[in-house]
Amino acid sequence: MTTILQMQGITKTFPGVIALDDVNLTVAEGEIHALVGENGAGKSTLMKVLSGVYPHGSYDGVIEFRGEECRFSGIADSEKRGIIIIHQELALVPLLSIAENIFLGNERAAGGVIDWHETFSRTRDLLAKVGLKESPQTRVTELGLGKQQLVEIAKALSKEVKLLILDEPTSSLNETDSEALLNLLLEFKAAGISSILISHKLNEISKVADTITVLRDGAAVSTLDAKGSHVGEADIIRDMVGRSLNDRYPPREPKIGETIFEVKNWTAHHPQHSERKVCDDVSFHVKAGEVVGIAGLMGAGRTELAMSLFGRSYGTNISGTVEMHGRPVDVSTVNRAISAGICYATEDRKTFGLVLDDTIRRNIPLANLGGIADGIVIDENRELAVARDYRERIRIKCSSTAQEVVNLSGGNQQKVVLAKWLFAGPEVLILDEPTRGIDVGAKYEIYAIIAELARTGKAIVVISSEMPELLGVTDRIYVMNEGRFVGEMPTKEASQEKIMSLIIRSGHRN
């Protein structure tokens, strides 16, 4: 098989950090090459070097693509050669239509006048290729994340793509959408398009990848051939973290006490379509020392439930009661919810979780400024001590706590969000997709934090779309579908099949 891409001796430094240290990467024509590694290992950085986001001259090393040396000065250059990257964060313009997004910057036009007929018909072809049935005129905001991801891919296909780079494409997709996306990659492979896939979901990797390159601390530590023989996940993990990881979940002996947190008849309506109920008469409770999971598909209303509970941050016309230790509490503003001991760590860290341009040090205490201040005067030394403590405890990988969070890798940003809520000292902590985009090692650490919190008598709610995760860390699971709780079971008796069948059955009822 011929080589399509060869990256040699790539070194890239940022002030105070060596993000890539003499990395070599070889991709064969028509293969799916997986890139794995811990958070902050340098995967995204390597792909940004390849696609010209970091232009030639800002790194050391040589890139050879289809036999020619490339010196890209920007994304446009690499796209011209057929290298298309889909970034970790989607880059679609929400208020434009699918067709406009696909041909943005590449408009089907004659003399500056857009040929809508051609635009729409080509869009329809492209959408068919990625298996989307939406009209080309649908606005992107109206699509779910999974479909937006497919639009991104259709956009890539609208250009002459030779090498497709996907940076964590499935991290916010549910299992069916992920499955569809992976099948699409296999189809592209059959059509001769090579791709590089970055993912923390090792089961996906072992399913589709032909070759796996493992990055650790900015260096390529191994390249595994995954074609004929089946490479075990254990092998990948060993190379990623530098030693083998025997258990995915920390051992735990639940000591469950009294009920701390109880929600009764919680109903919330959609902010725009006020007749639609996003949460419909939901009741649940969590006991001291208990970890409770909420399972469900994307769009089941789990995030909406959590956010409406947390200071009415979502929804209108909300009714129902919240009790702490058997007494009703006021959760009508975020501040009151926090004072009542309820905290919510968001699933969308960029929009709702972090002040991106600010430092780690200043992000962590934001929900509990009183904790680092005397009266209204901030004690910077205490602030620093707090930041260092969390950096150590949950292993936030950074050059210093004065680093801006925007420059952290995705997984480490997630840890900063967690640190922020841990510092707020909650009694009830609602974690929404707490391990999205996080590597296996760090996942374990986060599970260990959850276990530790539970051990100290806190009540934890975990919302997750990864069922193995729910089965691994919780004591009890509620199943949610279309705004309602449709089932409850102790985790000991739960299984993926059982949860899925509850969801499907409840869907049939109406």
């Binding site: 002030p15 105070g16 950090v17 975020v334 991106l356 341009d357 910077e380 030394n381 001590a385 050059s399």
Partner: protein
């Protein structure tokens, strides 16, 4: 904890660095702050030379301070507004309106000027609060609300003054702008009180600077290299001592300077060291995340505008006292000078970034250029062009710096 066993601590390999590397990376990070201070020094040196030393003459220094006091006072409020991610275009009109109100109350109604001053500050705060209400709670863009405010108060100024200039003010009121610290020691030609005050300020500044440096050191803060710390403090101390000395040989500290210095100190402290300041930066950086951290973002924005209104009112009093009359033209276009000062000082249009000291230095850069060019007799036409270009260059420098990082 049990996860210790899982894998080695994830430490990031530091880039090779010696002391040279450390100061190089420090400069890169703080390019903006040093850049602007350097720019002010260069601009002052330039005008000092081309005006044959007139710029730094005691009488001109005094003038410079009086001329710029109201811009600086408003820049303090504007910095908060801009950091919180908004803008206030109405401040020039509010300044004019409050000056007119003061004139009518004091000159035409014979009201006690202290009472009138207090009423004016309250009116300013209410004006700011009204605009802030629409901006914070109704989410109407601040650009539009304050553009409306700008027109409304320009019109109201005309109405209050009935198109006429109203003045002069009683002596006591004028003292806000034209008064100086009393010469309690009675040395002829030298205001010892001002000199002593200046020296005390420098001493206090150095004390706190050293103390915080010492503390940061002991807790291992990554902080500025010794050379920079001492260099910066030396230049600042020398500048303050020189200005103090120069002013003392003339008539001493103007009252306005004392008010201004106090305000600068208070607002610096608020922005850099208090929870309120921290929240304002957070709102500008990411409003949604800040709200979900339990911070009442609406109330914060509301107060930022109320505060701006009050400072605009104070500036209106200072300005009216300085002209000794209220005119319908007062404050015309001042909002642009104030906003320019804040942006030259390194604040970002997007919010979340900027410092009080930067804004003050930005205001002085504009002020020194105005003053220097007037001494040179450069026409108002060229002056505008040059000031516009300086603003543009400052912002380009910002963007360039940011992209390179």
């Amino acid at each position: 904890m049990s996860q210790e066993a899982i894998h080695q601590p994830a430490v990031t390999k530091p880039a090779p660095s010696g002391t040279a590397g450390a100061s190089a990376s420090f400069i890169r990070k703080h390019m903006r702050e040093y850049g602007i201070l350097l720019a002010l020094i260069v601009i002052m040196a330039f005008f000092q030379i081309v005006t044959n030393g007139i710029l730094l003459k005691p009488i001109n220094l005094t003038n410079l301070i009086l001329q710029n006091s109201y811009v600086i006072i408003m820049a303090l409020g504007m910095l908060l507004v801009i950091v919180s991610g908004h803008i206030d275009l109405s401040v020039g009109s509010v300044l004019g309106f409050v000056g007119a109100l003061a004139a009518v109350m004091i000159v035409q109604w014979d009201m006690n000027y202290i009472l009138a001053g207090v009423i004016c500050l309250a009116v300013g705060a209410v004006i700011g609060a009204m605009q802030g209400y629409w901006i914070a709670y109704w989410k109407i863009p601040s650009f539009i609300v304050t553009l409306a405010g700008m027109l409304v108060f320009k019109g109201l100024t005309l109405w209050v003054l009935a198109g006429q200039s109203v003045g002069p003010f009683p002596r006591g009121f004028q003292l806000i702008s034209s008064g100086f610290l009393p010469d309690v020691f009675g040395i002829k030609g030298f205001n010892l009180l001002s000199m002593l005050l200046g020296v005390v300020v420098v001493a206090v500044m150095l004390f706190f600077g050293l103390r915080s440096r010492f503390r940061n050191r002991s807790s291992g803060h990554d902080d500025e290299p010794a050379l920079f710390f001492f260099g910066r403090n030396f230049i600042l101390a020398a500048a303050i001592v020189y200005i103090t000395w120069a002013l003392s040989t003339f008539r001493g500290f103007p009252n306005v300077l004392v008010v201004m210095a106090l305000l600068i100190a208070v607002y610096s402290f608020i922005t850099s060291r208090t929870t309120i300041g921290r929240r304002i930066y957070a709102v500008g950086g990411n409003e949604k995340a800040t709200r979900l951290s339990g911070i009442n973002t609406e109330r914060l924005v509301f107060f930022t505008f109320a505060n701006m209104g009050m400072l605009a009112a104070l500036a209106g009093l200072v300005f009216a006292a300085r002209l000794n009359t209220a005119t319908p033209k007062a404050g015309l276009g001042f909002e642009l000078d104030v906003i320019a000062a804040v942006f030259i000082g390194g604040a970002s249009m997007a919010g979340g970034v900027g410092t009080i000291i930067g804004a003050v230095i930005g205001a002085f850069i504009m002020g020194v250029m105005n003053n220097g060019m007037s001494i040179l007799g450069i026409g108002i036409d060229y002056q505008q062009v040059i000031k516009g270009l300086v603003l543009l260059v400052a912002v380009i420098f910002d963007v360039y710096n940011k992209n390179r990082a």
